[in-house]
């Protein structure tokens, strides 16, 4: 790890000020479960590290009307164990419970996960599948516009994710085929239904990160049942291929995971 100047702001405003001062050479530290390993490998070498762990008001879970607000610094374990999340969006609590391992869940945060936008990460699928809004210190960004590509987001320099707002769906579930070694998604599908709106979001498979499946959504709008997906397939073009799975195998898994997610959402 290369040397850096360490800062521990108390407010989002101070953190933003420090980021601006660092002028592109600063990085925010949340749970550190991605950033620290990357810095150890010297793939990242920020001149200034701005630790968000002492910033007031960045973590917590609250149900406001029909929206679930989750602070950016809320840890995976706290989402997984939250009674509020388990009641409002059980599929989201289950997703958090399936991230990595207990020690990773005790440090890693939702804000860090979505800002990082790893193409195999779980939370991006929930954000897209539930039509979440990502709130930053500057604006509100719909999930549909937030995830712009592999490890890439709509966040601008100096922008800090402060919370994520999830509209509470009628039905939602996540199914992941984990890589047996890393537990990241080889393919993960999040399905959400709210009124007549149905969303199907896929992570782990796309060469450009998380994406939606309009054909699957249309079929499920007609009838929200796993059978509605019979006969639908996903082309292997544009999917990831690596030592773990070929694009063809991932395409197949998407169909299987999507059906399982729909059945799970229906409580079957």
């Amino acid at each position: 790890m290369y040397a850096f100047n360490y800062q521990r702001p108390k407010t989002v405003r101070q953190a933003a000020g420090l980021l601006a001062k660092a002028g592109g050479d600063g990085k925010l530290l949340a749970g550190g479960q991605t950033l620290l390993p990357t810095m150890k490998q010297r793939l990242a070498s920020p001149a200034m590290l701005i630790d968000l762990n002492q910033v007031d008001g960045m973590s917590g879970i609250e149900l406001k009307g029909r929206n679930l607000h989750i602070g950016a610094m809320t840890k995976h374990a706290d989402v997984a164990n939250s009674h509020v999340v388990k009641t409002a969006i059980p599929g989201l609590a289950a997703l958090a419970e399936g991230i990595g391992d207990p020690a990773v869940r005790n440090r890693g945060t939702i804000g860090g996960s979505i800002a990082n936008n790893d193409p195999a990460a779980d939370y991006p699928a929930a954000c897209l599948g539930l039509g979440a809004t990502i709130v930053t210190n500057k604006r509100k960004i719909p999930a549909d516009e937030f995830f712009t590509g592999m490890f890439d987001t709509a966040l601008e320099e100096g922008e800090i994710v402060t919370k994520v707002i999830f509209p509470v769906p009628q039905k939602a579930a996540y199914e992941k085929f984990p890589n047996p070694a890393s537990r990241y998604a080889m393919v993960g599908v999040f399905v959400g239904k709210k009124g007549s709106d149905v969303r199907v979001a896929v992570t782990g498979a796309g060469a450009n990160g998380v994406f939606r499946l309009p054909e699957f959504e249309a079929a499920l709008k007609t009838r929200f049942n796993a059978k509605s997906l019979d006969g639908l397939s996903v082309p292997a073009d544009g999917l990831n291929g690596d030592i773990h799975a070929s694009p063809e195998y991932r395409a197949h898994l998407i169909g299987v995971m999507a059906k399982r997610a729909v059945s799970k959402a229906l409580g079957k």
């Binding site: 790890m1 360490y6 620290l36 391992d101 207990p102 005790n106 440090r107």
Partner: protein, 162 residues
Amino acid sequence: MASVTMTVNGKSVTATIDPRMLLSSFLREHLRLTGTHVGCDTSQCGACVVHVDGRAIKSCTALAISLDGAQVTTIEGLAADGHLHPMQEAFREHHGLQCGFCTPGMIMSAVDIVNRKGAMLDEHTIREELEGNICRCTGYHNIVKAVAAGAQAMAATKVAAE
């Protein structure tokens, strides 16, 4: 260099450190608490698991400076009055180790599992919960047995103390 203060195994420690120092290095090199092992240094193996404010974390994936004010418990902090902690005793009794390298992390994770999930742990739960701890010797079988027995022993000790 920057100053950090934390409580490690019940003792307050203050030190001036490089902000780059990982919690694992702080414990091992600064405090000479070498029970916490570093197996992979890439956040995978769990040999370095310690408790920070009552939660199991990988000490190789946390900056010491970021834990200013924290309560840290390492494997050295488990035994009391010269007696092994019930989970340590269970690993001994059930032959839950061979080379022993993974053991400190296994035991710290196991105690955390009991704290979260209670004393009655089935095999499936234990195996799932040990996802972040790798052992290259035992094949896990006796580790799983040790955790199940240690969990019940912890509950029994607690009842006896009340």
